[in-house]
Symmetry: C3
Subunit: 365 residues, 3 copies
């Protein structure tokens, strides 16, 4: 995870409450091969750990680093062979899936996120016609407008704004400064990070003509966000011109992503940091999009698509494709073009020279 | 607007209060051709509507979809011919400009944005030396500092911060979490979306030398925003080093746009989502800039320019030009280069092969 | 700084309190050559000023504009010759470094940023188990959670959120709407602009498999920010998966920058507007990165590197390199490729034609 090339001091370890290797094997229901009495107190990448560190081995590549690692123990995906293991001094714990076992441990040791008490904080402003479930938490500085509906288990940490007739489903957690616009809705078990804005107006104008200036098109639609959605800090999702901007179930959106009016994003989609979706663009289920990608207005991206970071999508990407580049094109073509492009100046000089040799009348430029 | 290729469920319609086709024709002062008694209750794109939907036809392209559309009625720009119309069962309403007529309808049916009552909310903090007009609304959690001036009809919804000696003109609406820095000003009838930050320091430093570390240049200038300006959520406009960062009248700025110190943006400019203006760059009147565009520091873009999304402008774009690409260049050249670039690897292989055939000494790479 | 080509009205001057040239020379401890009695009341770029304006001359280029400038006085870096100076009517003040002298003046005339009084504002919410130094200022709408530590001289202007067990060092200033997550820390003398979010969860998920949906990896790490760090408005720095996301001392970060989980950024680094660092990427000391740059996940950028705006870094940049382009490559190669790329369509046509002439069997496409 860290590299040593640049020599910055790093401290990639994270404290665990101390746990013994045999206790850990029991916790993750794994098979212990090695010393059951080692005390583990940190979690670390395999190349950075120290005695007392627990790491994980999900593939042959990671396994090959075990012999030289200083970590005391590793969670290993069953079926991966780990050469150079000394069961006297270290411990391997075999589990069906090391990644899932790590998640189990991280969940067990994760400190709880700060949250206000259940009920309405005296410094919150809740409209008498809003419905706030008695099991919801509305923190200081929060504003909940008329007609809005806050379900059981919802947490509005602090300085959160919930517009008129907006709705938030059960157990959804809104970090400080989130703004949910009028009539927009978020489903159950959502996680919305700080200063995210849902439901600003779409950017819709009639462009200026000699007869009239730029003219705003009223944006009367809404935003609907499914269940189990995560949205990053300072991301923005605009309301539809009319109709709905929709984010599907279980979709995860990173920080500073911008989703314009009338976009339809499917279920189980991943959108990495600073990606931008132009107006009325659509994304199918299970598609994964890297960072800083741009989708043109009305672009249609199918399901099970993979788009590499930095790509610009002009129009359509079909189901199951893997694309990259500007404009986005199938990976094989894009990589070949990128390689050619990296040597372009050299290639041009060589070709001009060769043609000049063959044809004295050829004019290089 | 929506496509059916990816099979996501869509609901692009928007509720209207029910209105009869003859009433609608009267409302927009249009000429009704067809059934006057149809009840319209939704607004929808021509390819997505249902019986009861109103749509609009601004061009031949839209008109060609009318015969197969399920919509009951359409607003049509006069002069556009609409084939396949059955005046018994459906209705066309001809108006000088269908887009303008739609705006008239959207305005009529748009629910009002939630806003605090006129006056100062008890949970707001207003400095005694600030001047807040009695017809302004200052919502809960807002902070208005010393010497600032809030004109009549201004709405500060909630958790808005107005710095020292800042000014906001008549009928300007600030959504939650907006921050207006000290001494910055916004004109009349502005619309500023949530968590937008106006007046952070410009990014100005003397770079490190062997003798001293990176050194901050104090940023003592301000930001001046004209009348009728719209600025999107989480956009940032920095104050000038000294002097002014200026946004002209009627200019519209989308979400997550970044405008650096000392930029001068003209009147009637459109800046789409996530565009970045480097320090001291300038943009002339009526210029339109697509999404995720980057202007280099000191770039000068003329008036009536069009810049396509994703472009990088290095230095100067002249009045009236249409440009795109990295770096931005005239559209015709850019498109030709882009086409060539898309086949580059293939082209290089072909040329290398042809030259090798002609000249056995040619070395492809 | 401004250009006149696009004819926008500009007002690049900034008011000074009026000062006489001899007083100014004394203030900056410079050597006055010229009229000691001129009154200076504005600060302006050399090409934009008026009588009464002070400007600065740091190089031969600026010096060549002095003869035609309307400014009354200039701060000049010693050793720069200034042709066309009339010491009767104007004044030059020689100093070791004109840039540093300007900073001295800007500091002297900069109006103080609005800040709440020392102590805890009655509209703030501070947990009884938080430690707020009596010399700190906690403004209206701020929320300070349990176990957090606010040092002497810290200013939380308004609506700032400080999570559980978070720490803020001496004299650090947080503008409105900043969110500092649980257990994250900021060093001394920091300056954090409005709506910046430090400590949102890293974007870490196990991708969906046929057996299970996308699964969140709990993000239990933190963010550690060094001393004398500046971070721009709406920037986001995510907490580590485990371990730490670290920003070194004296590093300056512009607006809307996104720094993902587990990044390690060195000391004295400059990151310009809208740059994105992918997860676990690292940057060495004194490196300068332009605007809208993207670092891939795990990219490693050495120390003393310069990366031009708009570049995409795929993997590694070595110490001291200057790179640009997509992907980022050494400047000389990148510029040659960019030049070739700008004429690509023309080149392809020319080569196809020449080959066709030499070989009638050649098929251009």
């Amino acid at each position: 995870m860290m590299t040593t090339g640049t020599k910055q001091p790093t401290s990639p370890e994270s404290s665990l409450v101390s746990i013994r290797t045999d206790e850990l094997a029991a916790l993750v229901e794994g098979q212990l091969v090695g010393n059951p009495h080692l005390i583990l107190s940190t979690l670390a990448p395999i190349e950075d750990g120290n005695p007392g560190s627990l790491t994980f081995i999900r593939s042959k590549n990671f396994a090959s680093l075990w012999a030289s690692s200083s970590c005391s123990a590793a969670l290993v995906t069953q079926g991966v062979e780990v050469p150079g293991h000394d069961p006297e001094t270290r411990a391997l714990i075999f589990v069906p899936d090391a990644d899932i076992a790590v998640i189990k441990i991280l969940k067990a040791i994760k400190p709880q996120t700060a949250a206000p008490n259940i009920g309405i904080h005296p410094c919150a402003t809740v409209h008498p016609d809003a419905q706030v479930h008695p099991q919801a938490s509305v923190g200081p500085g929060c504003v909940v407008c008329q007609g809005s509906l806050i379900a059981s288990g919802v947490v509005l940490t602090a300085n959160v704004y919930v517009g008129q007739n907006a709705q938030i489903g059960q157990d959804t957690f809104l970090h400080p400064g989130v703004v949910l616009g009028d009539r927009c809705t978020i489903g159950n078990r959502g996680l919305i990070f700080a200063n995210c804005v849902i439901g600003a107006d779409g950017f819709g104008f009639l462009i200026a003509t000699p007869d009239r200036p730029v003219t705003k098109v009223p944006q009367i639609g809404t935003v609907e966000i499914g269940d189990d959605v995560e949205i990053g800090a300072c991301s923005t999702i605009d309301r539809a011109k009319f109709g709905v901007t929709r984010i599907g179930h279980r979709t995860k959106i990173d920080n500073q992503v911008h989703i314009a009016h009338n976009c339809i994003v499917g279920d189980d989609v991943l959108l990495c940091g600073r990606t931008t979706l132009g107006g009325s663009s659509t994304i199918g289920n299970r598609t994964m999009i890297g960072g800083a990608v741009v989708l043109n207005d009305q672009a249609t991206v199918g399901k099970d698509v993979k788009i590499a970071g930095g790509a610009i999508v002009l129009d359509e990407i079909h189901d199951g494709e893997t694309v990259l580049g500007v404009p986005a094109m199938p990976a094989r073509t894009a990589l070949a073009n990128a390689a050619a492009s990296r040597n372009l100046a050299k290639f041009c000089r060589r070709v001009d020279k060769a043609l000049k040799k063959l044809d004295p009348d050829y004019k290089p430029s």
